[in-house]
Symmetry: C2
């Protein structure tokens, strides 16, 4: 009699399967079901009018919660906010969510993830696209919200090849101007120089093919760039409209909602002009709340789509329920 069976007997919970564990014919079933040991693909579909959207998770960065991550808040207040959200207080999982928009005429990828070059628990975009049945060759447009590494590095494979070989790449003109400027690079704080290098590595050899857009441009029929400066000099959100329906892709208007939606006045270390980023955040959140506008956000828990509600001095992110019906 096996340990399992003895223990089950002692506990008074003998099961047919346990009692019969010496019968070889039913053993294979158990042996055939080892733990999977990994998460399922991070993919989720929903519709905006006639457009079919697929949110895709590139993974997560598990960031130690340390002094300086929120530059204008005490560490104990940050930990309290995390605890209020039932999150661990030692490490914050910051997800990376890309969005694919199939308009029926175009297949558009918004931001490209880390390319497996920023965190050991990220770099899953291509694998998760495959799980969603989307071939990287089918992407005909890549829209970039801003030039931080976790939004642009996935444009290339680790080997440096273009990951979306048939795609036209469209970027904010103001981002291009800032990050491709050698003067800005030389004046930038040390901690930002790696990002300047990443921008050059990513775009350098295709510079002549990259298209630039300004705020309010309809970059793809149905998708309009909306200025959201501050996080970076040319940081863009995107309004996606089809029929009477619409969605606002927030990009990095706020980082993790447990901190920066709840406390819109908190400044993440990533903001280049934090005061402007806060002003932008409050303006966009006020609009989203007033219009009950559905949003999609890059660093919110996957799939990162839902609503922004006013809540006291701050706001609350209300995730849209997972729906089996598109």
């Amino acid at each position: 009699m096996s340990d399992l069976t003895r223990r089950a007997l002692l506990a008074g919970t003998v099961t047919a399967a346990a009692a019969a564990s010496s019968v070889p014919s039913i053993l294979p079933a158990r042996a055939a079901a080892p733990a999977a040991g990994r998460q399922v693909p991070g993919i989720y579909r929903y519709k905006v009018g006639e457009f079919e959207l697929t949110a895709i998770n590139d993974g997560v960065n598990l960031r130690p919660v340390e002094k300086g991550f929120v530059v204008n808040a005490e560490l104990e207040d940050v930990k309290e906010a995390l605890e209020d959200a039932y999150l661990p207080t030692d490490k914050l999982g910051i997800p990376f969510n890309q969005l694919i928009v199939n308009t029926g005429r175009r297949v558009v990828l918004i931001d490209t993830g880390t390319g497996g070059q920023q965190a050991p628990t990220a770099g899953l975009l291509i694998e998760n696209m495959a799980a969603a049945g989307i071939d990287p060759k089918a992407i005909d447009t890549v829209l970039i919200s801003h030039f931080h590494g976790d939004h642009i590095l996935g444009l290339r494979t680790k080997e440096g090849e273009l990951a979306f070989p048939n795609a036209e790449v469209q970027v904010p003109e103001a981002e291009w101007k800032y990050w491709m400027d050698d003067g800005e690079m030389s004046r930038a704080p040390e901690g930002r120089k790696g990002n300047f290098a990443a921008v050059r590595k990513t775009f350098g050899s295709i510079a002549k093919d990259v298209k630039h857009f300004d705020a309010d441009a309809e970059v793809v029929p149905g998708i309009t760039a909306v200025a959201a400066y501050g996080h970076t000099p040319g940081h863009m959100t995107f309004r996606i409209a089809s029929g009477d329906d619409q969605l606002l892709v927030l990009s990095d208007t706020a980082n993790h909602p447990a901190l920066f939606v709840r406390n819109p006045g908190w400044h993440a270390v990533f903001d280049i002009d934090a005061a402007m980023a806060e002003e932008t955040r409050r303006k966009i959140f006020d609009m989203a709340a007033a219009d009950r506008l559905r949003i999609q956000a890059y660093h919110f828990p996957f799939p990162g789509t839902g609503f922004i509600a006013k809540d006291g001095d701050g706001y609350e992110f209300v995730p849209a329920p997972w729906s089996v019906v598109l």
Copy 2:
């Protein structure tokens, strides 16, 4: 020049792909990416101690929001609660979430879904298990929380075969006693007689093999039944414990959280003894909130796992963030 290309030109957003749309070599990419037209599989993994859990969605019932669904609330108050939760007010999507627990020794399925016999938008359990890499033959234990059709019908295929042929089936003794009693069936309101028939159809031919358990029984090593009577006479929740970690499987302690977590005093039409169900709900929610206990719920938006927080007169469901890291 195609319509697409003309329109793109007029909008001032010509893309390389659009401009080149007469070049056959790049056309297949677009043609190869039609809309998927359906949701991805509803599957999600997480761990409780050493146990690996997989939440599986069987689908959803899109229920018209009508007078009588919440038996002790005005329809306008119900619609207001839905609007507060950013949900449609005409139809409520009530999901069906099963849970598979791989303890390392056992593969346990808790509740079995609709078997495709209750709603046109449900019946996906077996298909979604396949997407999760779990063979129905690998299930060695089926635990049933209570005998409502959406929890038991999936024990059989539409053709009446046992869907989990190697599984021992364990059910609450008090449920068996109530639903298999011909006197109870004859005295039951008309609307409940179909459920009595479903119970007989499901369990009749395997009655001698079905194991019965009482409250507080450790039904599988690490999984203990916890009484939650009221919704039905023998309705059970399950406490899953591994190492220092634990989870409470709420079963139908509350139906959709936007209504019945927010308003624990509201009674869903499904409750057999609504007053007792409310008392049970408040007791369990008070405990879950005080202990910050992670929960899994059958009718909450998929994957249906998170926390119950006190919120004014009621409670709030705080979904656990989707995590790529197990």
